[in-house]
Symmetry: C2
Subunit: 360 residues, 2 copies
């Protein structure tokens, strides 16, 4: 197999950057991929991963290459590619391959992640569009998740301002979710890019959206939360940004606006209150000066039954839905904990769900 094949094969069994780096200390990429299944298990891969890499990866690789050949704007960006975004590489579990539809050179430009509620207030929508447009006009790339609500408004604001925008998706690039965003996706790909770590035919799943968020945040010098409730995915995104030592920005809202409660919570924990884009551009200047920022003290405590969940993840892939039912939690809550566990290197995503991984 050639270089790209090897990266795709590793990605297909749920290996990510942190794991790969450890393995690469012992051998080259080509050596790793050509090891027999028994040896792969000895160096720490699960039975499932070892088997997948030895016997199933080729199907995934071919799917990916077929997708790449479909159009000139389809790109596969591997972990060591010159276009692989350096900020994403610094995060805990960067994907080994990024599937890109659009302009891959944008990935390395300074981005601001904009996230927020799928059910924002009219004011929240207006703020999202305005800030996205102004950031775009000031040379920032707006990166979001193309969900309904704030995400979509941010992409639209950037596009209407004549700018390029990046959308990270929680499914393969042959899928588009929500379907109401097909037109938006086409517009984004025209000048900006759609990004996914999932192989092209992978369908959206609830647990992929928190995963997608870690990429949105990982690509960006800071994360701006426009409107969000306390228990929302946006706060998880903010938490990840803080973990990555990136700035967290939040837009304040009325005392009585429950959609602002998450933003207010973040500000109380140290996020920067945003009254206009100057507050954000300032950070870009600092970032350019200093590279990574110093400590960021935000740290949301997810008071959830992490150990109980972990105990239910084994070597046979388990889906979020089954897990949620088994532990009596919502799919959203379970997804959030799974993301945390994955970033801690305790579990991995593979086709069919989550598996436990060793501590090596």
């Amino acid at each position: 197999m050639d270089h790209l094949h090897n990266w795709l094969a590793l990605a297909s069994v749920g290996l990510r950057g942190q794991r790969y780096r450890k393995l690469s200390e012992q051998m080259s990429l080509a050596e790793l991929v050509s090891l027999p299944a028994s040896t792969l298990q000895q160096i720490g891969l699960t039975q499932r991963q070892a088997h997948g890499l030895s016997y199933e990866a080729q199907v995934w690789v071919e799917q990916a290459l077929a997708w790449q050949a479909e159009a000139t704007d389809h790109h596969l960006i591997c972990f060591d590619h010159q276009y692989y975004p350096p900020l994403l590489k610094e995060t805990r579990q960067p994907p080994l391959v990024l599937f890109i539809k659009g302009d891959p050179t944008l990935l390395a430009l300074p981005q601001i992640a904009m996230v927020g509620s799928r059910l924002p207030t009219p004011t929240g929508r207006k703020v999202a569009r305005q800030l996205a447009a102004e950031l775009t006009q000031n040379g920032m790339i707006v990166t979001s998740g193309m969900a309904q609500g704030i995400d979509s408004e941010c992409h639209l604001g950037a596009l209407h301002a004549g700018g390029k925008t990046l959308a990270v998706l929680g499914h393969g690039l042959r899928q588009i979710y929500p379907t109401s965003n097909k037109r938006l996706a086409a517009d984004i790909a025209q000048t900006g890019a759609l990004i996914s770590e999932y192989f092209p035919d992978v369908r959206a799943r609830a647990e992929y959206f928190p995963q997608r968020n870690r990429i949105v945040v990982g690509l960006s010098i800071g994360t701006l939360v426009v409107e969000a409730t306390i228990k929302s995915g946006s706060l998880i995104s903010a938490n990840l940004a803080a973990e990555y030592n990136r700035e967290v920005f939040a837009v304040p809202g009325s005392f009585y606006n429950t959609q602002a409660s998450g933003c207010h919570h973040l500000i109380q924990q140290g996020a920067k209150l945003v009254t206009g884009i100057a507050d954000i551009l300032e950070e870009r200047a600092l970032f350019a000066d200093n590279g990574m920022k110093g400590n960021n003290e935000i740290n949301l405590t997810l008071d959830l039954c992490t150990q109980q969940l972990l105990d239910n993840v084994e070597d046979i892939p388990i889906s979020v839905d089954v897990l949620a039912e088994r532990v009596g939690m919502t799919v959203t809550d379970v997804s959030i904990i799974l993301l945390e566990l994955e970033l801690l290197g305790k579990i991995a995503v593979v086709p069919g769900g989550y598996i436990k991984v060793g501590s090596t």
Copy 2:
């Protein structure tokens, strides 16, 4: 003259706590007041103050005593009185006498200063009433300035919740300003108290309102700004609170609400964002534990022509209006700088306006 006479005499020439403390290191109160005018000047009083203390104070003293005799709820609380509020005494320029109409025992209870715009939004009014009511129901005394807008809403909220509230006024207690608040003033005095450092017949002047604010803030363990624009007296109050090492609280508002801009500015500078009274009651607990708080990093920079103003204040009292015209600034801006200068001990308020004082 007896003890009370002496305090009133000193207050009548614009002496305040910081100045008095220095002089009291050299002599007793009675000795100080009985010094001849020439000696008073030698120990650092201005010609005007020395003359006033020697020849004019008696008129003021009699006015004050007559007012006190008018009603059983009229009280004169001197600097060394058991009811003199300890937190106010810790500030830079505490009044030597407080004129109280109402219950003077409330002065020493834990208070929260609530301040804000005279032209708030309907939401701002609602928040002010609600927070004042809830604070009252949780054992806090709400202290404000009885101005129109937020101030009045705070007093009303406290009263409607069945609580006692303190109003600090920028004029003597025979006056009521604004006149539309006569009913409110009577209600406040019924269960709470009206407070002033001005002699009973002194009329409201623009420059007295920032002065009044320093007492509102000085009485309180923290200052809560409900709604305020960037260039408002409320931000000066917040600045004073920070100078006194008291907590500053601010209520967030919509991104598009200009009446929230001052609050957002304060939060960016370190004020605590308030989403409910729990954020404030927490501070009361800390205050009870530790007495004064540690450093508070808020420090508004008043980019105004301080030296130019100071150069125009001399030994003959000059009014704010004349000063404002002379330096080409608004009365509000001039009043703010004068307060700063006064708190620095560089000028003093006397009947007729401001005078320069020596550095001793």
